[in-house]
Amino acid sequence: MTHAHSARTWAAQIRRIVLDESRRANVGHIGSSLSVADILAVLYSGVLRASGPDDPDRDRFVMSKGHAALALYTALHLRGWLSREEVAAYCADGSLLGVHPERAIAGIDFTTGSLGHGLAYAVGAALAARMQESSRRAFALLSDAECNEGSVWESVMFAAHHGLTNVVAIIDANGQQALGYTRDVLDLSPLAARFDAFGWQVASIDGHDSAQLFDAFTRPTVRPQVVVANTVFGHGVSFMERQIAWHYLPMSDMQYSEALRELEQQACADPSSVS
């Protein structure tokens, strides 16, 4: 099985568990987790190097858009670092697994939740790797709207100035933010050109295509790299796709059933995604 096939299997499992646990916990942020499922599947199934969650020389990953943590917990489960029972405690009273990720959880390198912090952490992690003469890399997954934060551009400038080729920023470019579409709220376009102008190597790809994602994450680079992953908010569940409300809404039982039915149909259409 190629890595792309394996990643598609992971992505299907991530989407299924995201739906299951969001329904059980009766919480939102479902669309954001579905948006990044393929990105996390590719990273955790075959890109991030780590012998374990406590390996000091592991690649670092920062979930800067912390509100999609459920998808990350699921990826950590598939990697073998979190049990299914732990993921089943998502948002339960007394659990460590909240809506946003917490560093006390195995496999979570940095606590996040407030946008605009994560790229700076990744840049610090990349600088640390260089100073320790390690080949490890640091990845940060940002939302496109997160680039509204000025702090993101402080980090972008620092990484370019210091030639940190071991940092990878991934932009989940789904074109949506909390109260509207990014083009209407605070237009980011042309996002790729802006990163290019700041001295970063840009790959603008289909954020749901495992092969393109894998290629982008493993491409040699002489500059800091940004992967603009063009995604569909709520990808895989038609009634959530590109809908602002699904930033917030929990599912009803009927919506949950309909969402599962759609995922199963997609699995039938792409047998390679079923393990």
Binding site: F110, T112, H117, A120, M131, F158
Partner: protein
């Protein structure tokens, strides 16, 4: 304090490869010894305090001991959320070095006057707060705090020469230093304005008033036991700080008095008014806020008289 502090840091970094110094483009005539001795561990991140705290968080997670350096207002107010969500929330050993506690930037104006930095840091849990009274104590505090596992805020002054008489550079985590004994009242001081408190105590003796003087540089961990032992012996405690009386040393002592059922009256000398457009140097502004030795003496005498 900043010169000796940074020279000591430069020395300690020779033996501890974890040390990294980041500056937000400030520190002319202060940071050069470190930058020259350890160029591979010195980064001027530019005028970008948020990113500086974020980078320090990433470095600390990988095992480094990063020091971030700027003017006290810039390194507390601008990246406040980065301090909280980074080293505080994630319990990482980032050292935040703020220069110019109180009115030390004088005519530079209220954007540079650190009169709420201690309050801001005290509002967050899990960060140690150290505000030395002179450069000798600053150096000792740097050494004594070396092993603290979480973040530390150092509130340093610009004065590299003045020494608080009787302090002899002493510092202990969670302790206060009683440097003058007295039975009529206790002056409790934080930061470089402590030298005014010591001078005020000397003047008060001419008026027959025996004032003890204690230095609180370890603002957190709070020197609760030392403060209780001191305050329970006197009828009046007077706090002295170039800082708002809200959230700083005055608040800390008020909490200790209230929570430990102490019976001393409390007079908080510090910044009580809103920002003024009036400019001036450190001494002038301290005097304007009744923090000069003469103003302290007058306030104490008035308080003793009305006792």
């Amino acid at each position: 304090m900043r010169g000796p502090f940074l020279r000591k840091l430069t020395d300690l970094a020779r033996h501890d490869p974890r040390v990294v110094l980041l500056t937000g483009d400030l520190g002319f005539a202060a940071i050069e010894p470190f930058a020259d001795a350890h160029p591979d561990r010195f980064y001027n991140v530019g005028v970008a305090e948020q990113n500086m705290l974020g980078i320090a968080t990433g470095l600390a997670e990988a095992g480094f001991l990063p020091f971030v350096y700027s003017i006290a207002t810039f390194v507390t107010r601008r990246p406040y959320e980065f301090i909280h969500n980074g080293p505080v929330l994630q319990k990482l050993p980032v050292r935040i070095v703020g220069i110019g506690g109180g009115f030390e930037y004088g005519a530079a104006g209220p954007t540079h006057h650190a009169i709420d930095d201690v309050a801001l840091m005290r509002a967050m849990p899990d960060i140690s707060i150290i505000s030395p009274a002179d450069h000798l104590q600053a150096v000792t505090a740097l050494e004594k705090s070396w092993g603290l596992g979480g973040p530390v805020y150092f509130r340093l002054g610009k004065d590299d020469t003045t020494v608080v008489p009787g302090l002899d550079g002493e510092f202990e985590i969670g302790r206060a230093q009683v440097i003058v004994e007295g039975v009529d009242l206790a002056l409790v001081a934080m930061g470089s304005v402590a030298s005014e408190a010591v001078a005020a105590a000397a003047t008060l003796r001419h008026f027959g008033v025996q004032a003890a003087v204690a230095i609180v540089a370890s603002v957190r961990p709070e020197p609760v036991a030392d403060l209780c032992a001191l305050i329970e012996r006197v009828p009046l405690v007077v706090t002295v700080e170039a800082h708002s009386v809200t959230g700083g040393l005055g608040s800390l002592v008020a909490e200790v008095v209230a929570e430990h059922n102490l019976h001393a009256r409390l007079l908080r000398c510090g910044v009580r008014t809103g920002h003024s457009s009036v400019t001036g140097d450190n001494a002038f502004l301290n005097s304007m806020h009744c923090l000069s030795r003469d103003a302290l003496v007058q306030q104490v005498l008035a308080s003793v008289k009305h006792a």
